[in-house]
Structure formats: structure tokens, C-alpha cells
Amino acid sequence: MTYKVLKIKDGDITKSINNMFREILKSGKLKALLIPQEVPSKKMVFHVLISNPEKLNADIIAPVLANSTATIVSYMTKIEPANKPIGVVMRPCQIRALFELVKLNQANLQNIVIIGVDCLGTIPIKSFSNFPEKKTPTHFLVDSFTKKTNEIDKYMRTSCHICKEPVPNNTDITIGLFGVDIEKEIIVEACTDNGKKLLEDLKLETISKEGHAREKAVKQILEEKNKKHTDFIKEKSTIKGIDAITKFFDKCINCHNCMKACPICYCKECLFESTVFDAEAYKFIKKAENKGLFKMPSDTILFHLGRMNHMILSCVECGLCSQACPVDIPLMELFIPVADNAQKEFNYHPGKDPKEKIPMIVYREDEYKEVGEE
């Protein structure tokens, strides 16, 4: 059991990581790399699919998640699995989402090499592109992390703040930032044979996993984060009853952006965007007569509760729904407590094991015997 160590030159972490990725690309072991890279205006960081090592100028630490990476991988592999090895650099929540999409037959992991990165959190797109500090968001984050000032916390998205799994699992390669001084060195761990093959030619020092500070640091971070997560759920479980829920969605303009940003919502034709709820004028008038009045466009709560029923068991708590909302409804504050309860009911941990089946397509004859027999 060993780690590899990547030495950071001149304290520039992104430069050193990029050099490593350039070497991997040059070796030809990966035909392309899906990796976050700054746009020329430096206002935003998007994933790029890159094959020319000369053009690689990535920033895998940049604290922003523009789109669901899992959806991008699904987009690339759904019609046909990758025929050549592609490396994908992903945050832990996105790896979990990708596994959920694999279970839903929306992505294929053949020839996909998952490179997971310890996640230091992300800030909303709006804060990232108009960052008020003097430093760039990435430098600010690295400073806040190495000096343990937690200054980044005031910008951080709530879902990242309370994320209970910032350490990636089920990767081929893990890039470890916890438990090391990231201005001097970072950990690169090959977790599978595929990962080992990629790293074998790189000039990286090998050290023993035994007694390394990373293990302890990860344990401590997971404990802290789990506590924050539990407290958050306790605090937000107060949204109860139809009055509280309609109030919560009061600003909703039925744009369905939360659904489009969600990595789990994969349906090409969503029920709520179909013609299912279209009706003749007389039916609307009848409904108005029954209720006295009703809001138009209607079915706001139906959409949110319906979507919740369809995706909640696979919810990986990435918070992209909240980030996508144009009227700033903090959707994840409602979804995370519900997800937590529902996933506990079925003893299901989304994204943990890609071979597991999602609870709604399997059953046991001898379960829930009391349901229907009251």
C-alpha cells in the first residue's frame, strides 16, 4: 500500500499538476483528458476535452463547478462507450453522480479513467466570475486552505460547506490534498491497475501509506463535515407543511433550471416539459371554479415534489439545483433533508458502488409486509 508524491515547484500547485497531466497525455496512455480549464477571459472555468498536451493549462483546484461533470461523461459515452482511454478529472460529488448515471444506463465507464480530486469546495458562479478579493479565487482558496483561515467559507456554496464526502471514492487515481502541505507536495494515489499503469513512468517518489498524515487528516475532515451535515439537516427539517412549502417556492418561475442542472435528471423529455399537463380551456375554468382561483402557470409544487420523487434516492447533494436557480431559491435546503431520510429508508448510499441497483427497480418479496395489509 503506497502513495506517490508529486513535488510542487515554486509553490505553484496548478503548474506542477499540469506538468504531470502533460506527461500523461504525451505518453499516449490517455487519448484525451476531460479537465477544468480557465476560459481566456479568466472569468470562468469549464471542463475541456483536451488531446494536445501543449494546450493544457488546467486549473483542477479552481473553486467552481459550472456544470455537472457526470452529465458531460454521460453525453460522451451514452450512444457508444469510449473506444480509446479518456481521463476525466472529477470532484467527489460528480463521481457519485456518474455512478448513478451508470446504474440508470446513461453512461458507460469503459475506457474511462476516473481521476478524483480531494474537494476543497466551490463558490457560486456569480462570486467566481466577479471575485471581490485581490487574489484569484484559486489562490484565495489555496491560501485559505494552507493557512487554515477558512476565509473561503464566506463565499462557499452551502452544499460544499456541509458536504459529508469531500474525499473521492472508487477512482482510478486520487489526487490527495488533505494531510499534506500543498505548497510543497501533493499525493497521487493509484487505486486501480489502470491508474497504476498511468503513473508507472512518471518520476514520482513512492512512500508508504502506513502512518501517513493523510489518513488522519481525512478521518478528521470527514468527522467535521459529517457533523456539519447532521446539524444542517436538523436545522432545515423545519420546512414542514404545505404553507411552509408553498412559501419556500413562492419565487419559482417554473423555468425548470434546477432539473436541467441536476446530474441525476437525465430524461430527454421530462414529464413536466411534455404535453401531459396541457388541457382544454374549459378544464382550467372548471379548476378555477373549484378553487376560486389558482396561480398561473400552475403545477409549481407538483413539479418540485414530482421531480423529488423521481430523483431523490440518487441525490448526491451537489447543490447544482440551488446554483442554477435564477431567483435564488435554496432548493438543496429542502432536498437534502428529504434525500437523507429517503436514502436511509432504503439503506441506500448513492454513488458508493456502481454495481448496486437503484432501489426503485429492485424488490424483495418479504419486505414491507405491513404495507397494504393494515
Binding site: I242, D243, L271, N290, F294, L302, L305, V371
Partner: protein, 145 residues
């Protein structure tokens, strides 16, 4: 309605009955002239497994005071395992409604076979009385849902 006179609350119940068992059970109750409350509005579906949670939510939001889902007894599904899946879906829906404080007790799922006309009538009687005690569904009173 006469002004000033308060009518007794009559629950509206939407029932989704599976074609092969519960709907036939309801039919049997009818042909056997067994009396049951007229509060249930029956919709025939091919299988309890085909009832999406959205249909149930839609009924509750648009004015139903209760929703009844009837399926074949476990093991007897015409499509082998539709009712097992319906059972899990119902557990999920009720779990979500419980977390959100939205009265999961307004949703009933029962297994009624084609020969159980009597059981169908009794179940509907029981449900109507339970929902009557629960009172009108507060969701349907909201206009900004």
C-alpha cells in the same frame, strides 16, 4: 349551497385500481349489490406498478382529500412484480411526504383480489371514515401551488 348552512364534509377520494384484481373486485362489489360510499372516484389502470407518484400528487394538489391505490396481492401480479414495485414506490412517496409534513396518511395502498368484493367495499368504507375524521386536505385549499 344554501347561504349560511354548513354542509357536512364529504371526502373526495381518487382511486387507482389495477385492471386484473382490484378493479374486478370493485366490479364484483357492484354486481353483488354491496353498498359502499360514493366518495371514491375510480380510475382503472393496467397495474398498480404503473401508478407514478406524480399522479397521486396531482390528485392531492388538485382537490382530492385522499388517494387509494389498489393492486393484486403480493405474488399475484398479472405482470409478475408490478405490485412489489408499487409497494416500494409507495414507501418512498410516504417517506418524502412524512419528511415534508404533508400527511402521508391520506394515501392508502391495499391488496384486493378479483374475488374480494366484500373486502373492497369494507376498505372504501373504512378509508372514507378515516379521511372524514382527518378533514379536508389543506393542499387543495392553496391557490398558489
Amino acid at each position: 349551497m344554501v347561504e349560511g348552512k354548513k354542509e357536512e364534509f364529504e371526502p373526495k377520494i381518487v382511486g387507482f385500481l389495477c385492471n386484473w384484481c382490484s378493479y374486478a373486485g370493485a366490479d364484483l362489489a357492484g354486481t353483488s349489490r354491496i353498498q359502499y360510499p360514493p366518495n371514491i372516484r375510480i380510475i382503472r389502470v393496467m397495474c398498480s406498478g404503473s401508478v407514478d407518484s406524480v399522479y397521486i400528487l396531482r390528485a392531492l394538489i388538485d382537490g382530492a382529500d385522499g388517494v387509494f391505490v389498489g393492486g393484486c396481492h403480493p405474488g399475484d401480479c398479472h405482470y409478475i412484480d408490478g405490485n412489489y414495485k408499487a409497494r416500494r414506490r409507495m414507501v418512498l412517496l410516504k417517506n418524502i411526504l412524512q419528511t415534508l409534513g404533508l400527511e402521508p396518511e391520506r394515501i392508502w395502498i391495499r391488496w384486493i383480489s378479483a374475488s374480494e368484493g366484500q373486502k373492497f367495499a369494507e376498505t372504501i368504507k373504512e378509508m372514507t371514515e378515516t379521511i372524514r375524521k382527518l378533514g379536508p386536505n389543506p393542499i387543495s385549499k392553496q391557490w398558489n401551488v
